[in-house]
């Protein structure tokens, strides 16, 4: 035993920053088998306890060892609908891999030697897609073809739609943007989640009979009440956390200071990296600064440095973060990838203000140095600004990636839909039903920003409740 973890193949940094192709190539069958063989197949596995949806990890790795890929696919699919997506975007080092017995006790995230569960999941997910492995529907005659609506087509909405359709319901997804996918489309860049993977999963849902209505905003084009009048018997809300937070510091409205959402939407959804073939522009600076330490900050920085390279500008993108690298909430892999790609990380830095040119474009960012204090409510050590430590950096484009709040378009016009102080929809944690009967919710609109897999977990739970409640209600 004690075999070395199987490294996953990646495109060389110098090559990958010249475009938006996928960075991590994934395991070959041989590599997957070698990695799976490292699994101790513990008698009392603890890894699954780290998975937000409780995938039977020991079982699916065991099936890989036996080359029963179809079995492994069906094991994962019992809990997660989109393994090829989750295998790519799950922060495994904070979840299953951290729980893996091979991770050193007390470590803030998974040890190197922990089984690469996410890469194995991705291998199986991609195997399933390639072989068009279908998960059998469990169509229930009592609810057959009754109409349910899903609002939002992000991770939660897509997952709920699949579950509901397999239960036999007629599902219509309503999406506000012109393409389905939500954050998987506008937020996560193609070099982390290739669009053919996303399109494949969406295509599968269409095949299941799910109808997708884009350019349609529930709360604007049609109200929630009207959906019921149109014959929908239940509604799932996967509205997401779509409202960007800003720093609230002077100069933040100068030109070329973007929210990460705007920057990423311009590039990912609107393909601004293909300007002028695509018509949406984006500013590519010579000195780009990204503020934040989460996955979105990493995504934004990695997009920024790619845009610089693609525009023949020497790569100069710096991440400003208030704490240190250890406290960064981003996936470790993204931090590593960002550094490999030449992104500088300036830790213990708290922006104070921006200043700009006569034309109103940002030119400088002024910050304070910080030191770490006692842990705060998040368990991470609190950054304490050091008085008199101001310093100024050049910055001709900045991206603010400091979090997102609840999307309020629907809740603001639906007072009977109860929300908490953050604007998130409150639900019964058992059924995921909201304060309105027949309306369920899941994903980031419940409990704030989380991961793709957490959103899917909630969506699955809600779908189960919807199916049960419609069955009970009778025809």
């Amino acid at each position: 035993m004690n075999k070395e973890p199987v490294k996953v193949k990646e495109v060389e940094a110098i090559q990958r920053v010249s475009g938006f192709k996928e960075v991590v190539l994934g395991y070959t069958e041989k590599e997957a088998l070698a990695e799976a063989s490292r699994c101790l197949q513990c008698k009392n596995p603890v890894c699954s306890s780290g998975c937000p949806v409780g995938i039977d990890i020991k079982a699916f790795i065991g099936q890989i060892i036996n080359k029963d890929y179809e079995g492994a696919y069906s094991t994962i699919r019992q809990k997660s609908n989109f393994p090829s997506i989750c295998g790519r975007v799950c922060p495994a080092e904070y979840q299953c891999r951290k729980a893996c017995i091979l991770t050193k006790k007390g470590s803030p995230f998974a040890s190197q030697s922990a089984i690469n569960i996410h890469f194995l999941e991705r291998f199986i997910g991609d195997w399933g897609s390639k072989n068009s492995t279908k998960i059998s529907a469990n169509r229930q005659p009592l609810i057959a073809n009754r109409k349910v609506a899903v609002v939002g087509s992000g991770p939660a909405g897509l997952c709920a739609a699949g579950e509901l359709a397999r239960g036999g319901l007629k599902v219509v997804i309503f999406e506000g943007l012109h393409k389905p996918g939500g954050v998987l489309r506008y937020g996560i860049p193609p070099f982390r989640l290739p669009r053919d993977i996303l399109d494949f999963e969406i295509g599968q849902l269409r095949e299941l009979g799910v109808e997708m209505v884009t350019n349609f905003i529930i709360g604007k084009t049609l109200s929630l009440q009207e959906l019921f009048k149109e014959g929908f018997e239940a509604v799932f809300l996967g509205l997401g956390a779509g409202i960007p937070s800003f720093l609230g510091i002077p100069g933040e409205n100068l030109c070329n200071i973007y929210s990460a959402n705007e920057f990423l939407t311009r590039v990912n959804l609107m393909s601004a990296y293909k300007f002028p073939e695509f018509h949406t522009p984006v500013t590519v600076g010579k000195k780009m600064v990204v503020i934040g330490g989460g996955n979105t900050a990493m995504d934004a920085a990695r997009v920024a440095i790619r845009l610089q390279k693609m525009n023949d500008i020497p790569g100069d993108t710096t991440i400003f973060y208030r704490r240190t690298e250890i406290e960064m909430p981003a996936r470790r892999l993204e931090i590593e990838h960002a550094k490999e790609e030449g992104i500088k990380i300036k830790v213990l830095t708290q922006p104070l203000s921006f200043s700009g040119s006569k034309a109103g474009c940002v030119e400088k960012i002024k910050s304070l140095e910080c030191r770490l204090g006692e842990p705060d409510s998040s368990g991470r050590r609190r950054p304490i600004p050091i008085e008199g430590s101001e310093f100024v950096n050049d910055c001709d484009a900045a991206i603010v990636a400091v979090g997102l709040g609840a999307n309020k378009i629907l809740t603001s016009v639906t007072p009977e839909l109860k929300t908490d102080k953050y604007g998130d929809v409150t639900v019964d944690s058992e059924t995921m039903e909201t304060s309105i009967k027949g309306v369920f919710a899941g994903g980031d609109i419940v409990g704030g920003e989380g991961t793709v897999i957490e959103a899917m977990g909630m969506a699955k739970k809600a779908a189960k409740s919807i199916i049960e409640s419609l069955s009970k209600k009778g025809k």
Partner: protein, 281 residues
């Protein structure tokens, strides 16, 4: 999303303004004065916001009026009847709060006249005395005079060169209205203005002096137009607001006009570049 009708409203002195009637039954049914849509001409296009000028529930259509400024508006202006937009979503933004103020003034400058038209109509229907002040550089660039006359009790016109109406600015007429007799300004419950930023700014400084409530509808740059990007953020009364979901109407007195003007110009060079590349004049 099909174009039912398109006609050139005016084409003169390098300005082209087009009126399009588009099939969008769901939007038509919900649209109220003051609201807008976001559209894409083609899959590789930009998302651009435009005011809903009219909506016809029976025919299921909405009317948009667009001045060709950049690539996307030029492509939209060049669309033919029977063709379809790639995407269209709405109605977006808050609707104008239509109520009876008694007497109001609506002010439109340039293509902004298209935006005050639905609002004037709404206020007229609510029983207001609606006085319209329309402004244009010159007579040939004035749009929708007839439409505004139908929904207003009085229409006054100002042109920069004096070729039509009075020579001067809309604010000259506004000042006169406020100073006809000592209590004139107090008779007006609202001034509603849409037009170029310098015009809206000038209107707000006049009305401030007289203490008359003034609303403006802002034309900030947007991407998703549903509150997700923050590209359209403006400072109003010292607070940051998103034009798309908090607006598009705001109290004119608090608007940071300089900031808005600068933010709206950020892609000017890229816009020129792409128009040149695509050989579109």
């Amino acid at each position: 999303m099909k174009i039912i009708e398109t006609n050139t409203l005016l084409q003169a002195l390098g300005v082209k303004i087009t009126r399009l009637k588009i099939l969008a039954p769901a939007i038509a049914k919900k649209a109220s004065p003051g609201q807008f849509i976001a559209l894409m001409v083609s899959e590789n296009g930009e998302r651009i916001p435009l005011t809903i000028v009219e909506s016809d529930i029976e025919k299921g259509t909405i009317t948009l009026i667009v001045q060709e400024i950049g690539l996307s508006t030029k492509l939209l202006g060049a669309m033919k009847e029977g063709e379809s937009l790639y995407s269209l979503v709405g109605p977006l933004g808050h609707a104008t709060e239509i109520k009876n103020y008694g007497k109001i003034i609506v002010i439109g400058g340039g293509v902004g006249i298209a935006e005050i038209y639905p609002v004037a109509r709404g206020f007229k229907a609510a029983g207001n005395r609606v006085e319209a002040i329309l402004g244009a550089r010159t007579k040939d660039l004035l749009i929708l005079e007839g439409e505004l006359r139908k929904v207003s009790d009085d229409v006054k016109i100002a042109t920069d060169d004096g070729s039509y109406g009075r020579k001067g600015f809309v604010t000259d007429i506004l000042k006169e209205a406020f100073t006809q007799h000592p209590a004139s300004s107090a008779e007006y419950g609202l001034v509603y203005a849409v037009g170029p930023i310098p015009m809206m700014k000038a209107v707000s400084s006049v009305t401030k002096g007289f203490g008359v409530k003034t609303l403006v509808s802002l034309n900030a740059l947007m991407v998703d137009a549903t509150g997700m990007c923050g590209g359209c953020r403006v400072t109003v009364g010292g607070k940051v607001k998103f034009t798309c979901v908090d607006g598009p109407e705001f109290d004119a007195q608090g608007v940071d006009w300089e900031e808005l003007e600068k933010r709206n110009r950020v892609y000017e060079d890229k816009e020129k570049h792409i128009c040149k590349l695509k050989n579109i004049k």
